[in-house]
């Protein structure tokens, strides 16, 4: 039953998006499980980091995946980058099934996807200059002409506003400020002219005043090159400046998928509501009252709770339903999907 609804959903979504834009990435029922072994031998279970995730992304679309640490967002991201191998399910990029790619095809796939890491200083090799850092992907991808490489480096560095370029080429990462380091990381992700960028909390390590600058830069690059961007974050307040759709992830599942505006003005899933309530805006009135936070902590992904994974923390859980049956995606309004039994009736 789950399968048919998901398939229907996928079909409906794809026809809807295809009418406007070409589908770039399509993920169907993706599972990423890590095996646990006792002393490296006997099997004792799985960490179900990603457990049945489906979505589609159009060329040039920006999507934010929002969730807390340990919800599986990094595993999802690594699978998209082609680092993790999916346990089950399909990942189709431009009509090619990722699990069937091997050798140079897989390498070409990786050239199409740029990766912006969370901690810029950790992501840049301390012993390489900016020029070496940016030249390496070009060498690996087979740009043999030195002049061509330098031309690309100049172009990309100007795009990420590291100018004058000559001043930065021979600097090492420790000589740059946090914001500049993050620009180098972005330049490195952009240098092979990818079709998609995966940005893992690209601004969480930066100062408030620089954060917006980097987000705006990513936004302008995205628009200029019609890039698809997957923006992974836990900070809901930055999302609306950046993405068209938001996916809320909890314990390995996407619990709510909707357009950004719609999700922020009409959040449906109790977990999304809790996240929004916990996000504060700077306001002196905040000090006067307590925030409402659901009790407990996210479940272990080895033995997730039966039924809805949020039910032990949910105030609106329906006994006998939420703790028994895993919710499927309902669509209470067009394009707004929520995996919660509360919206069973409203669904068409």
């Amino acid at each position: 039953m789950i399968h048919t609804t998901e398939l229907k959903e996928a079909m409906r979504m794809s026809t809807k998006i295809q009418a406007q834009r070409e589908v770039l990435l399509s993920i169907r029922d993706l599972h990423v499980w890590y095996e646990l072994r006792r002393f490296g031998f006997s099997h004792i279970g799985y960490v179900k980091a990603v457990d049945g995730v489906s979505f589609e992304m159009a060329q040039g679309e920006t999507v934010a995946v929002v969730g807390e640490s340990g919800c599986g967002k990094s595993s999802l991201m690594k699978t998209i980058l082609g680092i993790n191998i999916p346990t089950r399910g399909e990942l189709i990029f431009e009509g090619k099934n990722l699990s069937k790619l091997a050798g140079s095809d897989l390498r070409d796939y990786r050239f199409d996807i740029g990766y912006v890491q969370q901690d810029p200083y950790g992501a840049l090799p301390p012993f390489m200059s900016v020029q070496q850092i940016l030249e390496e992907p070009l060498l690996v991808s087979g740009v043999k002409d030195k002049e061509k490489r330098m031309e690309r480096i100049h172009k990309t560095m100007t795009e990420v506003k590291l100018h004058p370029v000559e001043d930065f080429l021979h600097k090492f990462p420790h000589m740059l400020s946090g914001g500049q380091q993050q620009r180098v990381v972005i330049a490195r992700a952009m240098i092979l002219e990818p079709k998609m960028i995966v940005a893992d909390e690209p601004v969480s390590m930066l100062d408030a005043s620089v954060r917006v600058e980097i987000l705006k830069l990513l936004r302008s690059l995205q628009e200029q090159h019609r890039l698809s961007v997957i923006y992974i974050t836990h900070d809901l307040s930055t999302v609306k400046y950046f993405s068209e759709r938001i996916f809320v992830m909890y314990a390995g599942n996407l619990v709510e998928k909707a357009e950004t505006r719609r999700l922020l003005t009409n959040p449906l899933h109790p977990y999304t509501l809790a996240l929004l309530a916990a996000t504060s805006d700077p306001d002196a009135g905040n000090a006067d009252d307590f925030k409402e936070v659901p009790p407990g902590e996210p479940p272990s992904l080895v033995n997730p709770p039966k039924g809805c994974r949020f039910h032990p923390r949910c105030a609106k859980a329906i006994a006998g339903l939420c703790d028994e049956k895993e919710p499927v995606d309902f669509e209470p309004e067009p394009g707004h999907f929520v995996a919660c039994w509360l919206y069973q009736k409203e669904s068409p």
């Binding site: 408030a208 005043s209 400046y241 307590f290 925030k291």
Partner: protein
């Protein structure tokens, strides 16, 4: 100092902390003044490298070896703790009337000791309690910070990040100090855990009457606890005032731009960013330290601005002359 009349808990005057390095002297804290009343919370907001953490170290006198200059007055309940020698300071101030929750406190617990023992240790050392009495106190503190009581027997690795942060808070609270310095208490935590910790801090403030100095760069979260706000830039405090006055209308251009750079969930204002970088603390510019990045600068800014008073608020900017 008449302590009773003012209800003043802490008064800092011209606190200076400079470090010696191979390249020169870093003026991390350069003439900081502020006051704090009993059962109040002040938030010290600033970007990385502005000297916030050095300020917390200077207050607790947890200094590295390369100190070049450490001076000023820190009046805690009327006594100048800067006058005390190391031993007196350890016995009477640190963890007795003032304690610290260090940055990344959740990783500062001793991995081979049960958390109950770790929390009990300050009480045994400073209050002279027996181990059993101290453990009794630990149970009480765990109730205040919302840690299940059976966690006393657990090791740090068995606890989640949020729980470890609460344990670190319990450790700071166990000697019932009148002031707790919190250095980025929520920066490494998840959203819901952050909200939980802020709730715990609010509750402690109401129930135990503790004062807090909250050092952070997270403006939105800091507003959850702040009674007063102090904005720090390049080793100096550039604005102080009541949170109720500050958040709606900051005075200093840096504070205004910092507030405008915060992405907000509940408003559509487009956030801005501040051009340029903070100055090096090795060679801070003469005059106003923010002048190079300030859109309102004029001739006067080449002289160092004094602190101007505006009602209860203070601002170090010539615009408010």
């Amino acid at each position: 100092m008449s302590l009773v009349a003012t209800q003043e808990l802490l008064k800092i005057e011209n606190l200076v902390l400079h470090f010696k390095t191979t390249k020169g002297v870093v003026q991390a804290v350069d003439g900081v003044d502020f006051e704090l009343g009993t059962n109040r919370a002040v938030v010290i907001l600033g970007e990385s490298g502005c000297g916030k953490t050095s300020l917390s170290k200077a207050l607790l006198r947890l200094l590295p070896r390369n100190v070049d200059k450490y001076s000023g007055k820190v009046l805690l309940q009327g006594t100048d703790v800067m006058e005390l020698d190391e031993e007196e300071y350890r016995q009477n101030v640190r963890w007795v009337s003032m304690s610290l929750v260090p940055q990344a406190a959740m990783n500062s617990l001793n991995p081979v000791l049960k958390v109950g023992e770790q929390v009990a240790e300050p009480a045994i050392l400073h209050l002279g309690l027996s181990k059993d009495e101290a453990l009794g106190l630990v149970y009480k503190m765990f109730q205040h910070v919302g840690v299940p009581l059976d966690f006393v027997e657990r090791y740090p690795f068995e606890l989640s990040g949020g729980m470890r942060q609460r344990v670190a808070l319990a450790m700071a609270l166990v000697t019932s100090p009148s002031l707790i310095v919190l250095d980025e208490p929520t920066s490494a935590l998840d959203l819901l855990t952050q909200a939980n910790i802020m709730n715990v801090l609010k509750r402690i403030k109401h129930e135990l009457g503790t004062s807090f100095i909250l050092i952070t760069h997270d403006i939105a979260t800091s507003s959850e606890l702040a009674d007063e706000v102090a904005i720090m830039y390049a080793g100096q405090i550039v604005e102080t005032g009541d949170a109720k006055d500050f958040f709606p209308a900051p005075l200093h251009p840096y504070a205004q731009m910092l507030m405008a750079s915060v992405p907000r969930l509940r408003s559509d204002a487009d956030p801005i960013f501040i051009n340029g970088q903070p100055p090096s603390l090795m060679n801070p510019p003469t005059g106003c330290r923010f002048a190079a990045r300030c859109p309102f600068r004029f001739e006067k800014c080449s002289e160092e601005p004094p602190v101007f008073r505006k009602g209860n608020r203070k601002v170090k900017c010539w615009l408010h002359n």
